[in-house]
Symmetry: C2
Subunit: 262 residues, 2 copies
């Protein structure tokens, strides 16, 4: 039953491979095909759906791009583990957020350096370009598997106070609040999707060309001064951000009223 | 000046290509290299930084993966346009959010169909598996360029009321509120990064293997009943979500107090 609004838009029926993809995705998500179990062979799927091998391969290929399936050479196709997710209803460090859900979080410290702020870092931290900042590179391990690469810049005076802190076991947020006595306020966050770069490939043991969720986060203290600028790179196949958002009506009542009358 | 905390973690200095990448990224973001302008040639960059062509290529390659640069065969390397971003402080339709920032939003309707709910859709909309639902596939155009592919499922009774609505020019959220009289409440959102699948390649004119931001959104009416389930796929090279998040202290005062004393 096809239906189009207007006549400038083409109406396409859903191709066969997309229907099969949808069917298999639903069975993976509801646990019929369990994490780490082997999927039926291409031959079995052809018989099951009554379609060609090309169609089955296209469906499996798309589910692999989505991260729901992975292939082992010579062994077949397997179901990925469900993605870990972080609820971001309030500003929290990664360990703080994840350990309350039963995950074990440990960090690898890749580097802790005194560098000159480039223009982007200086602009965000509201300091002079070239001013000294502390730059920290860490890998976060979730249940002992690398899940994100985190680059952090702090103004020098504050950053130096982290030099002897336990950056392997503790969140920077909690060190700032509990050791440095700097209460945190809000963060401005921007999220996009990129492909893994060389440092991610090295640090997170992902393949080149893997998808990554990139978070640009500028954290302010309780007075609104920016104190902690970060680039967080999460493995696309292993992580999800979740949150709830409300419809707010400030000033919109009048508009929707007018629309209804028109 | 290198500094490491603890002795179980390796400390690496930042490789040359990464320093060059950082330098070029800052100049792109601050407008020194303007959108759509041509970058200096590899030869010129080698001379500028005093490094080998391999090093320059690695830096340019990473900036291309990030979406900041693109290549035109035989012409050279160019600076990408800045990404469009959507502020998500409240639940809004895409046109509602973006047109207030001066963007023109139009939709292509790819399909409007009556289908049986698969298990995932049924589960989210709290209906029986196999129950009839309306499935809508749209492409959103931002200033006449495709930016996202949106798949929407609505319970049949509600969805049928959209059959004659102007889905090319209007957000589904505004049609639900203004035409159907269904006030919206909140949405549960999950965000991750994947690679473009076949429908995205076709609908958004991106290359296979491009990064995509995937949004899974379940919108509820003001009574908390789920009424609109969506998969939104945004082009990774062209779009960003932005929001502000506050540090909340409910019940945490005691813990941080205890930690400070320990």
């Amino acid at each position: 039953m096809l239906k189009a609004a207007g006549n400038l838009v083409p109406v396409t029926s859903v191709p066969l491979y997309a229907q099969i993809k949808e069917n298999l995705r639903a069975r993976i998500l509801d646990g019929t095909y369990a994490p780490h179990s082997q999927m039926p062979s291409e031959h079995e799927l052809c018989a099951m759906f009554g379609v060609s091998r090309i169609t089955v391969r296209q469906a499996l290929g798309d589910l692999q791009k989505e991260g729901l399936l992975f292939k082992l050479h010579g062994k077949g196709t397997f179901v990925s583990k469900p993605k870990a997710f972080q609820n971001i209803s309030s500003l929290q460090g990664f360990a703080e957020a994840m350990s309350s859900m039963g995950y074990e979080i440990v960090n690898q410290l890749r580097s802790f350096r005194n560098v000159s702020a480039n223009r982007q870092v200086a602009d965000r931290l509201r300091i002079e370009e070239g001013a000294p900042v502390i730059e920290i590179h860490r890998v976060r391990l979730l249940n002992r598997e690398p899940i994100s690469l985190e680059l952090t810049w702090l103004p020098e005076a504050l950053g130096q106070r982290l030099a002897n802190a336990d950056l392997v076991a503790r969140d920077i947020f909690l060190i700032l609040e509990n050791d440095c006595g700097v209460p945190l306020g809000h963060a401005d966050i921007a999220i996009d999707a990129i492909l893994a770069d060389d440092e991610m490939v090295d640090a997170l043991r992902v393949e080149e060309g893997s998808p990554a969720l990139r978070i640009d986060r500028l954290t302010h203290d309780a007075n609104g001064t920016p104190i902690d600028y970060e680039h967080l790179y999460f493995r696309g196949d292993a992580f999800q951000y979740r949150f709830r958002i409300d419809r707010e009506k400030q000033g919109k009542g009048a508009t929707s009223q007018a629309t209804r009358k028109a």
